[in-house]
């Protein structure tokens, strides 16, 4: 019997599967039997098992802290009032439950973030509408560098305008 996959070698591996009373038989050569299921191999996206890695890091984080057993117990019962995630859940899964969890578990998260990202502070994009004060601060920064440039170019009229704009935004922050 020829292998039903490659049709090039003798079928030496015979597999019978029963799914929902439906019997299927497959006859494969050793090469193809080893590869069976690899048709979709590229679909396998190893997540670097990040969640488990995180959970592991968190575990060790917890281990180094010389907290008493009762403190640990108290901590593990801490529960997010918004989504219901407990610290134990987070430790097991390495996933947050909602936006509020980030504030609630901040003390445990920060050392972890420092280890994963080497930083705990975002310096990138700020949403236009919901960015709030950060957005304004960022805009002030941008205006300041424009101001420096204007002064260099001796474009004093433009510089004066920019100064006014900066002042206006700074007042918004206070």
């Amino acid at each position: 019997m020829w292998c039903e996959r490659c049709k090039q070698r003798q079928a030496t591996v015979h597999v019978t599967k029963v799914i929902n009373n439906h019997k299927t038989e497959s006859h494969l050569c050793e090469v193809c039997a080893g590869k069976s299921g690899k048709d979709l191999g590229f679909l396998f996206e190893p997540n670097f098992s990040f969640h488990h890695l995180l959970a592991g890091l968190l575990e060790s984080e917890f281990g180094v802290k010389s907290e008493s057993f009762s403190q640990q117990k108290e901590e593990s019962h801490k529960k997010c009032p918004t989504c219901g995630l407990t610290f134990t859940d987070f430790r097991n899964m390495g996933l947050m439950g909602c936006a509020n969890c980030y504030d609630l578990f901040k003390d445990h998260l920060d050392p972890l973030l420092r280890r994963v990202h080497g930083s705990i502070a975002h310096t990138g994009k700020v949403p236009k509408r919901t960015g709030g004060r950060v957005r304004v601060r960022k805009e002030i920064e941008e205006l300041r560098s424009k101001l420096q440039e204007a002064i260099k170019r001796e474009a004093y009229e433009e510089a004066a305008k920019l100064r006014d704009e900066i002042k206006e935004k700074e007042e918004k922050l206070n």
Partner: protein
Amino acid sequence: MNLQGKIKDALPGWLNEPTPDGDVVLSSRIRLARNLRQLSFPHYAGEKQLEEVISQVNSVLKSSARLLPDYVLKRMDGLGQLDRVLLVEQYLVSLDLINNPAHRGVVLNKEQTVSIMLNEEDHLRIQSIFSGLQLKKAWELGTQIDDQLESQLDYAFNEEKGYLTTCPTNVGTGLRASVMIHLPALDIVDQVKRVLSVLPHVGLNVRGIYGEGTDSSGNLYQISNQVTLGLSEEEIISKLVSVTKQVIDQERSAREALLANESRLQLENRVNRAFGILTHARLLSSEETINLINDVLMGAELNMIPGIKVQTVKELLFLNRPAILQNLVGQELTPGERDYYRAAVIREHLTSAKE
């Protein structure tokens, strides 16, 4: 039947020319993780909350039809399994999204350069993908769509931590940028591991597209950023671009070295043998095809096969995939039938390209 027309329809829309640095880079992609402030993250959300995500995104699409024309929302539970796998094979959604189709969805633009996964690990995953090394273009389009959505959605954003994500490894920018590269010459000179092993030291991840870890049977690899917090999006992208350019240089010099000495004949032999099989075989398994495409792709990248363009061979990588193939043939196929149709489609695609 008009097979060429069907082939074009089955291939992902983003797989198009122009392809800058297309002799080494297959595709560039960015993904932005975004969540809605008021709702629990998908893995902790109930059905109602998940549906709320879908309906909020749907109303943004409706009210900004002028700015986001031709954007269509598809529910995963409204598609058959074959159509879902098709989207995965076209790199438009992830396997995670279709493994759990209820209350999941995707928004696609007409060109398929943008896809927004709904209720995958995060409420929104905005993806932008282009052929060749076009990471900046992908970022520009992605961030523009992001702005458009944010003008009406309340994102979970924290002054200190940035965009809040389900997994803390994505927090901050929520940006995952990646490129897919083909390194056949580095593989022949046995230097792939040496070159790629440096990348984790500069904060980049590498994985093989086929196979596990850094073993890749098609010599195809994906490089992506590891860190999402503490760097700006521009910094993340320019770092990935500059490292990718260095890897491209290494691969190109390996190719030149191979062509310059007696190994040229061996290379031509290998490329043309693979081309011969792909244009004449009557049955092709997907594993065998990946290895043959690797050789023929290298041949096209080196201009070794008259009339065969890199683009045509890249398309074979997709035609090799089961759901794309079945979509093309228009029926479900057993593995044995797939091998038959795979050979027929590949033969047709290569011969019609040569004419």
